[in-house]
Symmetry: C2
Amino acid sequence: MSKEITSREQDYSQWYNDLIIKGGLADYSAVRGCMVIKPYGFALWENMRDVLDKMFKDTGHQNAYFPLFVPKSLFEAEEKNAEGFAKECAIVTHYRLKNDPDHKGKLMVDPEAKLEEELIIRPTSEAIIWNTYKGWIQSYRDLPILINQWANVVRWEMRTRLFLRTAEFLWQEGHTAHATQQEAVDETVQMLNVYADFAEQYMAMPVVKGVKTANERFAGAVDTYCIEALMQDGKALQAGTSHFLGQNFAKAFDVKFSDKENKLDYVWATSWGVSTRLIGALVMAHSDDDGLILPPKLAPIQVVIVPIYKGDEQKQMIDEKVQVLVKELKAAGVKVKYDDNDNNRPGWKFAEYEMKGVPVRIAIGARDLANNVVEVARRDTKEKMSMSIDGLAGNIIKLLDDIQSAIYKKAYDYRAAHITNADTWDEFVKLLDEKTGFIAAHWDGTPETEEKIKELTKATIRCIPLDNKQEEGKCIHSGNKSVQRVLFARAY
Amino acid sequence: MSKEITSREQDYSQWYNDLIIKGGLADYSAVRGCMVIKPYGFALWENMRDVLDKMFKDTGHQNAYFPLFVPKSLFEAEEKNAEGFAKECAIVTHYRLKNDPDHKGKLMVDPEAKLEEELIIRPTSEAIIWNTYKGWIQSYRDLPILINQWANVVRWEMRTRLFLRTAEFLWQEGHTAHATQQEAVDETVQMLNVYADFAEQYMAMPVVKGVKTANERFAGAVDTYCIEALMQDGKALQAGTSHFLGQNFAKAFDVKFSDKENKLDYVWATSWGVSTRLIGALVMAHSDDDGLILPPKLAPIQVVIVPIYKGDEQKQMIDEKVQVLVKELKAAGVKVKYDDNDNNRPGWKFAEYEMKGVPVRIAIGARDLANNVVEVARRDTKEKMSMSIDGLAGNIIKLLDDIQSAIYKKAYDYRAAHITNADTWDEFVKLLDEKTGFIAAHWDGTPETEEKIKELTKATIRCIPLDNKQEEGKCIHSGNKSVQRVLFARAY
């Protein structure tokens, strides 16, 4: 095989980077912490985006677009939000370059083109959006506002990883405004469920739905709901968040509405987002040491057909048959590619499409043709089977469904085996180090204890699961009284 | 009518702004020169984007995503390109805010978080992309690269107008790499044709295809091809450009490939783009003093149905019938909205949807129902007609087609009447001031004359039309020898 991948056992981090780079999803760029999303990776993102966009529209949301820049005075209006993002902001201070008099052919920032007020590149858009909503909302008749935006945002992270944590990333951010607290809470939960359904049904990735503790909450939120997934190395990954913002932003931007009784009140808010980070999650949830494993529902190429032939005559016979098959598969809605590029041998192609995680590979040779069959290989299990050419499209669709279910089940079983109760500190630490995964343990509910546990073990409380069982117990660390177990893990 | 629009005759500029704001397409923002694209305007952009995206993919292009930031050293590598954009660049110089010790609750740029190298926010992405292509291209086998990106870009313009010229705007930029000059030129022309087809067939906006003069060329291009449209005030608008970049960027970024004979050569390049500016063009091409007129093929709502009733009983009868009609229209692919909001009277709704440019309005009352008819009004001509409820969907689709053709024809006839030959300077100036539109006049081919004419009249050469008739003449200004007429106009 031309491209070697580091195995998971050898170096999990390097395995991940190898998959991203050699699978053709993304590339490093000349800008610190920023990546280039390559066509294959972007096609995957487009598929994810299109499904999510439909889910948002089906739940009554519309898309809009707000400015990339947030003037500093707006940025600092909601203090907790500002504090939370201040340390990782890219800041525009000038609006012109000029020729550098000391270096011919070089440019320098023109000191005379300094902005009166600095502009922050949005790390999230609550500030600019709530400042806009102020002009749109007077009465209850103007509510709810249900808007989503697909955009790029920038957070100047010190340690970056392709897709998982990049200085610039692509995401969607929903920002809604409501007349009542209940309606805003319902919206927050509804969008959490949309995210969970997307993760499970499309990404084939089981998630825990829960609420964050105060320490892990979005800066400026009253409550942060989240979906948490488990990666193959036993580390957790926050895959999406939905925030109930209370009236915090309405107060910061003075957004009031008159209700049916003509009484003035502040508007209630939510925001919710998922990002290109989901691609990192998808890669780590399913892939193996031979490359990516992509769920059929999101794969840019679902089926690849590789011809195996000697000479032009065989090639021509195969071509004719494949043209019919491709037409049938496309008509059935299957994304199929026929790779008859004669620069590469079949073995090279097999390895290449395994690397790229194409769910189904069909090989067809002269003898197959004589027998009216093709060889079908599934990427997830590497199983090979012979299938009749008659009725192939229907059987391929069934196989794609099977693969979608199988990789979900595999991930589900792995996670089920990696949610473990710990009742003593020693047990907790041992499980974290040796078994990994989610550890369900009692916690006394204080930020101090949570912080202490994080310092000692690098484990954080991933969430308090929704509808969590209430049971009395003693905090794993402080020994103080606890009313429920929460999910700890080391996390991305 | 609740929202009054300034008439075109009274103040064309204000008329345009009124349409954008009151039609709900966009809003001003707190950031100088940046706008908020509202849901109705964004839905229009989504429709345009989806059609263009399909046209790009049908011609073999794939989408990808490159960083927002361009390090200064890359930005200045292609000198002409850098020079062209240097004066309108937003520049990131710092990556952190800190608490302002002198103003409690306020933030300030942390002087210790200064970037070693400034980052330019992309005004266009040739630099960052060609720096990336360098790593992707070794041999002719890696070519062509046919990539498009949908992105936001920033050009710090001093005078901005909603959609037409904003500091941040949304666009697509194609960037292709080829082994031969001919292939790159063919690609440039192909994409110009894609743009022209889109403008004429979807936007219903006739365009002239041509080549820019050296003065008006994209900074860094060998040739800039363009489509030019004519607005209702007789001013021209550049609606899309396609650039043949020669080997300029390949040389600036040292991108070479080995051909089949193993000989090294620089790669040939193109880039091409259209932006949210097209929305401004669309608005100005067709609309009237009552509001927007949108072409059916791009309208977010193609048909609106308004019930006219007294009392619940009539309402219920109408609702039942409308539900059937809506289902039929949706099944036929028509974007239909039933507006039975009882906060607003029918007259208010009629004016509102005229303002928003919905191509077809259907009104249905109790007497109509008894007669098995509806009242249908077309937005473009204001014509009203009675249509049988039987077979309505089919007739509405036909009507939408008619409207699409009619507004194209109207714009085409207007433009045909506004391409005028001028043979003397006096005639030229008089036509520019009194008749407006494109003036076809002889030009001696020198940048100096072009510049002089611009100084004197504010008219620029919009383009040298493709397949332009060659005829001998004398330059309108210098009197020197000329081989062809070119199209002059005042422009947006």
